[in-house]
Amino acid sequence: MHTVAAHHDEDKSQYFWVWGVLLLLTAVEVVLAYRQVFQPVQMLEALMVLSVIKSALIIGWFMHLKYEIAAMKWVMMVAVCACLCLMCVFFADAARILQLGVR
């Protein structure tokens, strides 16, 4: 196994911090859901915001995308942005059905 020079300063402690924050956010999600803090649609919004933060941490630090060049970042973010845009469309329509009923 040959060595590969890391193209950025890698500090092992940053990964432990990210891991800790991810566990903390997971705990917040569980408390929010189990205590039924919000109504379903507001709960969905809160959980999605937390999930997007968690996924940004995983993509940026664990998958090292924050260390890639801009072209790589933009191409890879296309799918994520497409999913998020579709989410806004689908979930909004689902909420409309909930309020107005199927016609």
Binding site: L23, K54, V75, F90, D93, A95, I97, L98
Partner: protein, 253 residues
């Protein structure tokens, strides 16, 4: 081998990558990009039904939520050990690379076992992909739930096999065979594990074909690419856990 420096004596015949990295890594990113759309479709199918149906069942009581939270902890911890494996591989530390990858595989296997136990419990309560106790109000529940979580579980299982091939190479094949044999013969014929363990057998055949037809010493780049796949599996669960489990939590009972 586009990753290797090729010298043909032709100056500037090969331009540097547009994305500033090696081709195998770009290939894996593109695969993950397409896979994210697959999972996106499955997540939308489940979530659309969940939001639009006020009578959507809430079968996940306290025990299920604790189980799913431990599974989430396993995957998050496996991502940490995987990134430590990538760091060790970059240093050229073969021993710690293998150790961290094995720790990752252990967490991944724990996730699959816990998930399988959850499925077994739900099936015991009458929930199957094609029928469920709430068929009158939410007939899509079983189909969307099992398709989404089953697809993810398959990805985790493939990831564990992938990591085993990268870290242990041919030595992993008999281990896989022994695990398959133990699970197959130690579980009842109607058990979920008894049927699902055949995925390991298929993985064994595919891994054997790859390892014997193209034997190689997997380097730091291969470990990093395997890590990208593994982190993606973790990433997808960060959406499945809240959308499927936390949005269908049963507070009482």
């Amino acid at each position: 081998m586009a990753d290797m420096a090729v010298h043909h004596g032709v100056a500037d015949a090969y331009e540097p990558s547009l994305f500033g990295t090696y081709s195998k890594k770009i290939g894996m990113w593109l695969f993950l990009l397409s896979d994210s759309l697959t999972f996106g479709a499955l997540l939308f199918a489940y979530s659309y039904n969940r939001i639009s149906n006020p009578d959507w069942p809430t079968p996940f009581h306290k025990e299920s939520i604790i189980n799913a939270t431990i599974m989430t902890g396993c995957l998050l911890s496996s991502s940490l050990t995987m990134v430590l494996a990538v760091m060790a591989a970059r240093r050229g530390d073969r021993s710690w690379t293998r150790n961290w990858i094995l720790a990752t595989m252990l967490f991944g296997s724990a996730f699959v076992v816990l998930h399988g136990m959850e499925w077994t419990k739900l099936m015991g309560e009458g929930m199957w992909p094609w029928k469920n106790p709430w068929a009158a109000t939410a007939p899509q529940f079983g189909g969307t739930f099992f398709t989404l979580t089953g697809m993810h579980m398959l990805h985790v299982t493939i990831g564990v096999i992938y990591l085993g091939v990268v870290s242990l190479r041919k030595a992993f094949l008999p281990i896989l065979l022994v695990i398959w044999g133990i699970v197959f013969f130690a579980t009842p014929a109607d058990s979920f594990f008894h049927i699902a363990v055949h995925v390991l057998l298929i993985g064994l055949v595919v891994a054997a074909v790859i390892l014997f037809l193209k034997p190689k010493d997997y380097d730091a780049h291969d470990v990093e690419i395997a890590g990208l796949y593994w982190h993606f599996v973790d990433l997808v669960w960060m959406f499945i856990f809240p959308l499927v489990y936390l949005m269908s939590t049963r507070v009482q009972g």
